[in-house]
């Protein structure tokens, strides 16, 4: 009985890889195109649902326009898809409430995230938008590690944050720019200064 069944199983196994070699085309907001394997896409819940809903065949992928990802640029999307291709087929971690989760950053991810902070924040933003759980975990871990052993002033520089004073000065400047009366008063003051009078008050 088992001998009879064996060839049937072999045929099925041979058929699976052909079916799985499906690629999709995506386009970033700066019109850069990426070809990503179906297995890599499974890492992103958002994209996985999208392609499932679209139900493209291999011909559709080639004939129809690439799927546009409107709010992520090419540089960031390249990193995202590099990560997805490297980690394709891996199980997606489930949040079971056992926080704080212990996250180790693998060597590949550490190299991939060896980028400037602006791009790293864009990568986190993209991982959140595309719902790539493990990429979000490792990138957040990287940001958390950056804070280790730093003073508030150092953190301000690391995270590109303004201090409260700078923040307030910027707010005041913006408010003044919006308030025409304040600008008029300032212009009047400048005019009087130019005329040589310093008796504004």
């Amino acid at each position: 009985m088992s001998v009879e069944n064996a060839p049937v199983v072999d045929v099925d196994e041979a058929a699976i890889p052909v079916e799985k070699k499906m690629y999709y085309r995506f386009e970033s907001n700066d019109k850069k195109e990426f070809r990503v394997s179906e297995l890599a896409i499974q890492q992103s819940e958002t994209l996985n649902r999208l392609v499932e809903a679209m139900g493209y065949t291999s011909e559709d992928v080639e004939n129809k326009p690439a799927i546009a990802i409107e709010n992520i640029d090419g540089k960031t999307l390249k990193l995202v898809f590099q990560w997805c291709e490297h980690h394709k087929g891996e199980a997606i971690p489930v949040d079971d409430g056992s926080v704080p989760k212990i996250v180790e950053i693998p060597e590949f991810d550490a190299k991939l995230m060896d980028i400037d902070n602006g791009l790293l924040f864009k990568l986190i933003w993209a991982a959140d938008y595309l719902n790539i759980v493990q990429l979000l975990n490792v990138s957040c871990k990287k940001v958390a590690n950056m804070a280790q052993g730093k003073t508030p002033a150092q953190l301000r520089r690391v995270y590109l944050l303004p201090s409260d004073e700078e923040d307030e000065a910027a707010k005041r400047a913006a408010q003044e720019a919006q308030d025409p009366r304040a600008r008029e008063v300032e212009e009047e003051f400048e005019e009087r200064k130019r005329q040589g009078g310093n008796s504004f008050f």
Binding site: V99, P100, K101, V103, F121, K122, L136
Partner: protein, 200 residues
């Protein structure tokens, strides 16, 4: 270019949960936005062990995460009740393995302040072990989570307390925290006889 402040809230919580408690306290000092975010958000920290000693000039606090041999121990002196509130608020969503309070008979005000903070917490403090130095157990014990608390240790703070009666020990026996605990250690006090027989 996005900055840390422009991150979605869920992502920001993800980052905070991966930061050590020391980093969270530092981040809190970076700017008003981050301070407000840390203060109003619910997130878990790696803080595992808190020991509070009430002194004449404020609170001395020792904090550890689960790997103190790697990450060291955080020690703070002369903290005000506001500082203490920050750290106790931060651990509201975490489970501590140990929470210790060492009272000072000459600084009753400090214990009252601590009681006030614990009373105003959104949820009771979760700790597996509670160690009390001093006899005023009722000021702290009712505000600990009874489902988490397993072991209670009570000892005197100084020789004056030895062989004194424990304040309101009958009331302690009525507490859920007492009923659910699996171990109780009382050193050198003169506990009420009923307690010894009443212990399950």
């Amino acid at each position: 270019m996005p900055t840390l402040l422009e991150m979605p809230d869920i992502t920001m919580l993800n980052i905070l949960e991966k930061c050590s408690y020391k980093s969270v306290l530092t981040l809190r000092k970076v700017c008003h936005s981050l301070r407000t975010f840390v203060d109003v958000s619910c997130f878990k920290t790696d803080l595992d062990n808190i020991c509070i000693t009430i002194g004449p000039n404020g609170f001395s606090v020792t904090c550890q995460n689960p790997k103190p041999w790697i990450n060291g121990t955080g020690v703070a002196k002369d903290w005000t009740s506001n500082d203490l509130k920050v750290i106790l608020k931060m651990v509201q969503n975490s489970k501590l393995s140990s929470f210790s309070v060492n009272t000072n008979p000459d600084s009753v005000r400090g214990l009252d302040d601590l009681e006030e903070i614990l009373r105003n917490q959104t949820r009771p403090l979760q700790t597996e072990r509670f160690r009390m130095g001093g006899s005023k157990v009722l000021k702290i014990l009712p505000y600990l989570d009874s489902n988490t608390l397993k072991k209670i240790y009570i000892r005197p703070t100084n020789n004056r307390d030895v062989n004194q009666n424990l304040d309101g020990i009958e009331n302690v026996m009525e507490l859920e925290q007492f009923k659910h605990a699996v171990r109780l250690h009382i050193s050198c006090f003169n506990p009420h006889g009923k307690l010894l027989f009443g212990w399950p």
